[in-house]
Amino acid sequence: MSSSSPSGSGGDLSERRGIPAAKFIQDVETYLSQSSLDSNSALAFHQERLQQYKVVEMKLLAQQRDLQVYFPPPLCRLAKIPDIEKCLEVVGTLEARKGTGEALLADFEVSEGIYSRACIEDTDSVCLWLGANVMLEYSCEEATALLKNNLENAKASLEVLVADLQFLRDQVTVTQVTIARIYNYDVQQRRVKQVAPTAITAADS
Protein backbone atom coordinates (compact mmCIF):
# COMPACT_ATOMS: atom_id res chain seq x y z
CA MET A 1 0.00 0.00 0.00
CA SER A 2 1.57 3.26 -1.05
CA SER A 3 1.98 5.88 1.60
CA SER A 4 0.78 9.39 0.98
CA SER A 5 3.39 12.13 0.72
CA PRO A 6 3.02 15.14 3.02
CA SER A 7 1.98 17.41 0.16
CA GLY A 8 -1.62 16.22 0.12
CA SER A 9 -1.81 13.41 -2.39
CA GLY A 10 -5.01 12.25 -0.75
CA GLY A 11 -6.75 12.52 -4.07
CA ASP A 12 -4.56 9.84 -5.60
CA LEU A 13 -5.53 7.06 -3.22
CA SER A 14 -9.02 5.66 -3.22
CA GLU A 15 -8.52 4.33 0.27
CA ARG A 16 -5.77 3.76 2.78
CA ARG A 17 -5.73 0.83 5.15
CA GLY A 18 -9.46 0.55 5.19
CA ILE A 19 -10.16 4.29 5.37
CA PRO A 20 -12.07 5.41 2.26
CA ALA A 21 -10.82 8.58 0.65
CA ALA A 22 -13.17 11.53 0.31
CA LYS A 23 -13.61 12.28 -3.35
CA PHE A 24 -12.95 15.87 -4.26
CA ILE A 25 -15.90 17.43 -6.09
CA GLN A 26 -14.96 19.67 -8.99
CA ASP A 27 -18.38 21.16 -9.37
CA VAL A 28 -21.27 20.82 -6.96
CA GLU A 29 -24.02 21.05 -9.56
CA THR A 30 -22.52 18.31 -11.74
CA TYR A 31 -21.98 16.13 -8.71
CA LEU A 32 -25.56 16.46 -7.54
CA SER A 33 -27.04 15.73 -10.95
CA GLN A 34 -24.68 12.82 -11.61
CA SER A 35 -25.42 11.14 -8.32
CA SER A 36 -29.10 12.20 -8.63
CA LEU A 37 -29.10 13.32 -5.03
CA ASP A 38 -30.82 16.37 -3.74
CA SER A 39 -28.90 18.74 -1.48
CA ASN A 40 -30.28 17.37 1.77
CA SER A 41 -29.46 13.75 1.01
CA ALA A 42 -26.00 14.72 -0.16
CA LEU A 43 -25.46 16.74 3.02
CA ALA A 44 -26.67 13.85 5.16
CA PHE A 45 -24.37 11.43 3.37
CA HIS A 46 -21.31 13.61 3.80
CA GLN A 47 -22.07 14.39 7.41
CA GLU A 48 -22.36 10.70 8.16
CA ARG A 49 -19.02 10.15 6.44
CA LEU A 50 -17.56 12.89 8.64
CA GLN A 51 -18.80 11.12 11.76
CA GLN A 52 -17.25 7.86 10.61
CA TYR A 53 -13.94 9.60 10.03
CA LYS A 54 -14.08 11.07 13.51
CA VAL A 55 -14.61 7.63 15.04
CA VAL A 56 -11.58 6.23 13.21
CA GLU A 57 -9.57 9.29 14.24
CA MET A 58 -10.35 8.65 17.91
CA LYS A 59 -9.21 5.07 17.54
CA LEU A 60 -5.94 6.02 15.85
CA LEU A 61 -5.23 8.75 18.41
CA ALA A 62 -5.72 6.22 21.21
CA GLN A 63 -3.28 3.85 19.50
CA GLN A 64 -0.78 6.66 19.09
CA ARG A 65 -1.09 7.61 22.72
CA ASP A 66 -0.51 3.99 23.67
CA LEU A 67 2.78 3.95 21.81
CA GLN A 68 4.06 7.24 23.10
CA VAL A 69 2.97 7.63 26.69
CA TYR A 70 4.98 6.07 29.45
CA PHE A 71 3.23 3.64 31.76
CA PRO A 72 5.05 2.51 34.92
CA PRO A 73 5.19 -1.20 35.68
CA PRO A 74 3.29 -3.49 35.94
CA LEU A 75 1.32 -1.85 33.15
CA CYS A 76 4.37 -1.31 30.97
CA ARG A 77 5.04 -3.57 28.07
CA LEU A 78 7.96 -3.70 25.71
CA ALA A 79 5.81 -2.28 22.94
CA LYS A 80 5.88 1.30 24.12
CA ILE A 81 8.61 3.61 22.98
CA PRO A 82 9.51 5.36 26.26
CA ASP A 83 9.58 1.97 28.06
CA ILE A 84 11.99 0.52 25.55
CA GLU A 85 14.22 3.57 25.76
CA LYS A 86 14.35 3.33 29.54
CA CYS A 87 15.21 -0.37 29.36
CA LEU A 88 17.98 0.40 26.92
CA GLU A 89 19.36 2.96 29.36
CA VAL A 90 19.40 0.46 32.21
CA VAL A 91 21.07 -2.26 30.15
CA GLY A 92 23.57 0.28 28.90
CA THR A 93 24.45 1.28 32.45
CA LEU A 94 24.89 -2.35 33.47
CA GLU A 95 27.09 -3.00 30.48
CA ALA A 96 29.23 0.02 31.27
CA ARG A 97 29.85 -1.36 34.73
CA LYS A 98 30.66 -4.83 33.54
CA GLY A 99 34.38 -4.45 33.47
CA THR A 100 34.76 -2.62 36.76
CA GLY A 101 33.69 -5.47 39.01
CA GLU A 102 31.90 -3.19 41.42
CA ALA A 103 28.32 -3.84 42.39
CA LEU A 104 25.58 -1.38 41.62
CA LEU A 105 23.33 -0.33 44.45
CA ALA A 106 19.88 0.55 43.28
CA ASP A 107 16.71 1.62 45.06
CA PHE A 108 13.60 0.31 43.42
CA GLU A 109 9.91 0.57 44.11
CA VAL A 110 8.38 -2.48 45.78
CA SER A 111 4.99 -0.95 46.07
CA GLU A 112 3.59 2.54 46.03
CA GLY A 113 5.76 4.66 48.27
CA ILE A 114 7.86 1.72 49.46
CA TYR A 115 11.35 1.31 48.12
CA SER A 116 13.96 -1.34 48.67
CA ARG A 117 17.65 -1.53 48.02
CA ALA A 118 19.14 -4.01 45.58
CA CYS A 119 22.77 -4.87 45.14
CA ILE A 120 23.42 -5.78 41.54
CA GLU A 121 26.60 -7.73 41.13
CA ASP A 122 28.74 -7.59 38.08
CA THR A 123 26.86 -9.74 35.65
CA ASP A 124 26.71 -10.71 32.03
CA SER A 125 23.02 -11.30 31.74
CA VAL A 126 19.79 -9.46 32.24
CA CYS A 127 16.21 -10.64 32.31
CA LEU A 128 13.69 -8.96 30.07
CA TRP A 129 9.98 -8.89 30.79
CA LEU A 130 8.32 -9.88 27.53
CA GLY A 131 4.74 -9.60 28.71
CA ALA A 132 2.17 -12.37 29.17
CA ASN A 133 3.88 -13.42 32.39
CA VAL A 134 7.04 -14.34 30.55
CA MET A 135 10.50 -13.19 31.47
CA LEU A 136 13.60 -14.35 29.62
CA GLU A 137 17.24 -14.14 30.48
CA TYR A 138 19.55 -12.61 27.89
CA SER A 139 23.17 -11.65 27.74
CA CYS A 140 23.69 -7.91 27.76
CA GLU A 141 24.49 -7.78 24.05
CA GLU A 142 21.49 -9.88 23.10
CA ALA A 143 19.28 -7.77 25.32
CA THR A 144 20.53 -4.55 23.74
CA ALA A 145 19.99 -6.01 20.28
CA LEU A 146 16.48 -7.17 21.12
CA LEU A 147 15.52 -3.87 22.69
CA LYS A 148 16.93 -1.89 19.76
CA ASN A 149 14.96 -4.09 17.38
CA ASN A 150 11.76 -3.53 19.35
CA LEU A 151 12.43 0.19 19.40
CA GLU A 152 12.84 0.24 15.60
CA ASN A 153 9.57 -1.65 15.15
CA ALA A 154 7.71 0.58 17.57
CA LYS A 155 9.02 3.71 15.85
CA ALA A 156 8.04 2.30 12.45
CA SER A 157 4.51 1.54 13.70
CA LEU A 158 4.28 5.06 15.05
CA GLU A 159 5.31 6.49 11.68
CA VAL A 160 2.67 4.48 9.87
CA LEU A 161 0.11 5.58 12.43
CA VAL A 162 1.03 9.24 12.03
CA ALA A 163 0.76 8.93 8.24
CA ASP A 164 -2.67 7.31 8.64
CA LEU A 165 -3.79 10.17 10.86
CA GLN A 166 -2.58 12.75 8.34
CA PHE A 167 -4.43 11.00 5.54
CA LEU A 168 -7.53 10.83 7.71
CA ARG A 169 -7.36 14.52 8.59
CA ASP A 170 -7.08 15.40 4.92
CA GLN A 171 -10.23 13.41 4.21
CA VAL A 172 -11.99 15.13 7.11
CA THR A 173 -11.00 18.53 5.71
CA VAL A 174 -12.14 17.63 2.20
CA THR A 175 -15.47 16.38 3.56
CA GLN A 176 -16.00 19.50 5.65
CA VAL A 177 -15.32 21.73 2.65
CA THR A 178 -17.64 19.61 0.52
CA ILE A 179 -20.41 19.93 3.08
CA ALA A 180 -19.95 23.70 3.14
CA ARG A 181 -20.01 23.91 -0.65
CA ILE A 182 -23.14 21.77 -1.02
CA TYR A 183 -24.83 23.87 1.63
CA ASN A 184 -23.84 27.11 -0.10
CA TYR A 185 -25.03 25.72 -3.41
CA ASP A 186 -28.35 24.81 -1.83
CA VAL A 187 -28.76 28.29 -0.36
CA GLN A 188 -27.88 29.80 -3.71
CA GLN A 189 -30.46 27.65 -5.47
CA ARG A 190 -33.16 28.63 -3.01
CA ARG A 191 -32.41 32.29 -3.55
CA VAL A 192 -32.58 31.88 -7.29
CA LYS A 193 -35.97 30.18 -6.92
CA GLN A 194 -37.22 32.95 -4.70
CA VAL A 195 -37.32 35.45 -7.55
CA ALA A 196 -39.81 37.61 -5.69
CA PRO A 197 -41.17 40.90 -7.04
CA THR A 198 -39.61 42.72 -4.12
CA ALA A 199 -35.88 43.01 -4.24
CA ILE A 200 -35.49 41.88 -0.67
CA THR A 201 -33.68 38.57 -0.41
CA ALA A 202 -33.34 36.71 2.84
CA ALA A 203 -29.96 37.65 4.20
CA ASP A 204 -29.83 35.02 6.93
CA SER A 205 -30.10 31.34 6.29
Binding site: G11, P73, K86, V90, L104, A118, T173, Q176, V177
Partner: protein, 130 residues
Amino acid sequence: MQQGKSSSSGSEMQVTWEDQQNINTFSRLNNRFHELEDDIKFAKEKCDNLEDAGNELILSDEEMVRFQIGEVFAHMPREEVETKIEEMKEATFKSLEKLQQEKESIVSQMAELKKVLYAKFKDSINLEED
Protein backbone atom coordinates in the same frame (compact mmCIF):
# COMPACT_ATOMS: atom_id res chain seq x y z
CA MET B 1 -8.31 19.40 16.44
CA GLN B 2 -10.20 22.03 14.59
CA GLN B 3 -9.29 25.37 13.22
CA GLY B 4 -12.09 27.60 11.95
CA LYS B 5 -12.59 26.80 8.33
CA SER B 6 -16.23 27.58 7.68
CA SER B 7 -17.56 29.30 4.58
CA SER B 8 -20.25 31.91 4.95
CA SER B 9 -23.50 31.26 3.16
CA GLY B 10 -24.26 32.80 -0.17
CA SER B 11 -20.76 32.46 -1.54
CA GLU B 12 -20.42 31.61 -5.18
CA MET B 13 -16.75 30.74 -5.08
CA GLN B 14 -15.59 27.74 -6.92
CA VAL B 15 -13.19 25.57 -5.01
CA THR B 16 -10.52 24.01 -7.19
CA TRP B 17 -8.44 20.96 -6.36
CA GLU B 18 -5.48 23.26 -5.79
CA ASP B 19 -7.48 25.26 -3.24
CA GLN B 20 -8.51 22.05 -1.51
CA GLN B 21 -4.90 20.97 -1.33
CA ASN B 22 -3.91 24.32 0.14
CA ILE B 23 -6.63 23.98 2.75
CA ASN B 24 -5.48 20.44 3.53
CA THR B 25 -1.89 21.56 3.88
CA PHE B 26 -2.93 24.41 6.14
CA SER B 27 -4.86 21.98 8.30
CA ARG B 28 -1.86 19.64 8.57
CA LEU B 29 0.48 22.52 9.43
CA ASN B 30 -1.93 23.78 12.06
CA ASN B 31 -2.11 20.36 13.70
CA ARG B 32 1.65 20.01 13.61
CA PHE B 33 1.94 23.50 15.12
CA HIS B 34 -0.15 22.52 18.12
CA GLU B 35 1.78 19.28 18.59
CA LEU B 36 5.04 21.26 18.46
CA GLU B 37 3.78 23.71 21.07
CA ASP B 38 3.11 20.82 23.42
CA ASP B 39 6.48 19.23 22.66
CA ILE B 40 8.28 22.53 23.24
CA LYS B 41 6.52 23.01 26.56
CA PHE B 42 7.54 19.51 27.61
CA ALA B 43 11.15 20.02 26.52
CA LYS B 44 11.35 23.35 28.37
CA GLU B 45 10.08 21.70 31.54
CA LYS B 46 12.66 18.96 31.17
CA CYS B 47 15.40 21.55 30.70
CA ASP B 48 14.28 23.37 33.84
CA ASN B 49 14.17 20.16 35.84
CA LEU B 50 17.67 19.22 34.75
CA GLU B 51 18.86 22.71 35.64
CA ASP B 52 17.34 22.38 39.10
CA ALA B 53 18.82 18.92 39.52
CA GLY B 54 22.25 20.24 38.60
CA ASN B 55 21.94 23.06 41.11
CA GLU B 56 20.77 20.73 43.88
CA LEU B 57 23.74 18.52 43.14
CA ILE B 58 26.17 21.39 43.55
CA LEU B 59 24.55 22.39 46.82
CA SER B 60 24.53 18.93 48.32
CA ASP B 61 27.77 17.43 49.51
CA GLU B 62 26.95 13.77 49.48
CA GLU B 63 29.39 11.52 47.78
CA MET B 64 26.90 8.94 46.57
CA VAL B 65 23.90 10.33 44.71
CA ARG B 66 20.83 8.37 43.72
CA PHE B 67 20.34 8.86 40.01
CA GLN B 68 17.16 7.69 38.34
CA ILE B 69 17.72 5.24 35.50
CA GLY B 70 14.52 3.82 34.11
CA GLU B 71 12.47 2.91 37.12
CA VAL B 72 15.22 2.49 39.69
CA PHE B 73 17.48 4.87 41.54
CA ALA B 74 21.08 3.78 41.15
CA HIS B 75 23.74 4.86 43.60
CA MET B 76 26.39 6.65 41.64
CA PRO B 77 29.42 8.77 42.48
CA ARG B 78 28.87 12.47 42.19
CA GLU B 79 31.09 13.17 39.21
CA GLU B 80 29.35 10.54 37.14
CA VAL B 81 25.98 12.04 37.97
CA GLU B 82 27.23 15.53 37.13
CA THR B 83 28.50 14.32 33.77
CA LYS B 84 25.24 12.56 33.03
CA ILE B 85 23.16 15.59 33.89
CA GLU B 86 25.33 17.77 31.66
CA GLU B 87 24.89 15.35 28.78
CA MET B 88 21.14 15.22 29.25
CA LYS B 89 20.96 19.01 29.42
CA GLU B 90 22.88 19.28 26.13
CA ALA B 91 20.67 16.78 24.40
CA THR B 92 17.44 18.35 25.64
CA PHE B 93 18.62 21.83 24.71
CA LYS B 94 19.52 20.72 21.19
CA SER B 95 16.16 19.05 20.65
CA LEU B 96 14.41 22.14 22.03
CA GLU B 97 16.24 24.29 19.50
CA LYS B 98 15.27 21.96 16.68
CA LEU B 99 11.62 22.02 17.75
CA GLN B 100 11.60 25.82 17.89
CA GLN B 101 13.12 26.04 14.43
CA GLU B 102 10.49 23.70 13.06
CA LYS B 103 7.79 25.77 14.74
CA GLU B 104 9.07 28.99 13.16
CA SER B 105 9.18 27.42 9.73
CA ILE B 106 5.62 26.17 10.14
CA VAL B 107 4.40 29.60 11.29
CA SER B 108 5.86 31.22 8.17
CA GLN B 109 4.43 28.53 5.89
CA MET B 110 1.01 29.02 7.46
CA ALA B 111 1.26 32.79 6.98
CA GLU B 112 2.01 32.22 3.28
CA LEU B 113 -0.95 29.90 2.86
CA LYS B 114 -3.21 32.32 4.72
CA LYS B 115 -2.26 35.01 2.23
CA VAL B 116 -3.06 32.79 -0.72
CA LEU B 117 -6.34 31.49 0.69
CA TYR B 118 -7.62 34.83 1.92
CA ALA B 119 -6.79 36.33 -1.47
CA LYS B 120 -8.99 33.78 -3.18
CA PHE B 121 -11.79 33.37 -0.67
CA LYS B 122 -11.74 36.64 1.29
CA ASP B 123 -14.58 36.43 3.77
CA SER B 124 -15.73 32.98 2.83
CA ILE B 125 -12.99 31.28 4.78
CA ASN B 126 -11.89 31.59 8.36
CA LEU B 127 -8.38 30.45 9.19
CA GLU B 128 -8.03 31.87 12.67
CA GLU B 129 -7.94 30.02 15.94
CA ASP B 130 -11.25 30.00 17.72
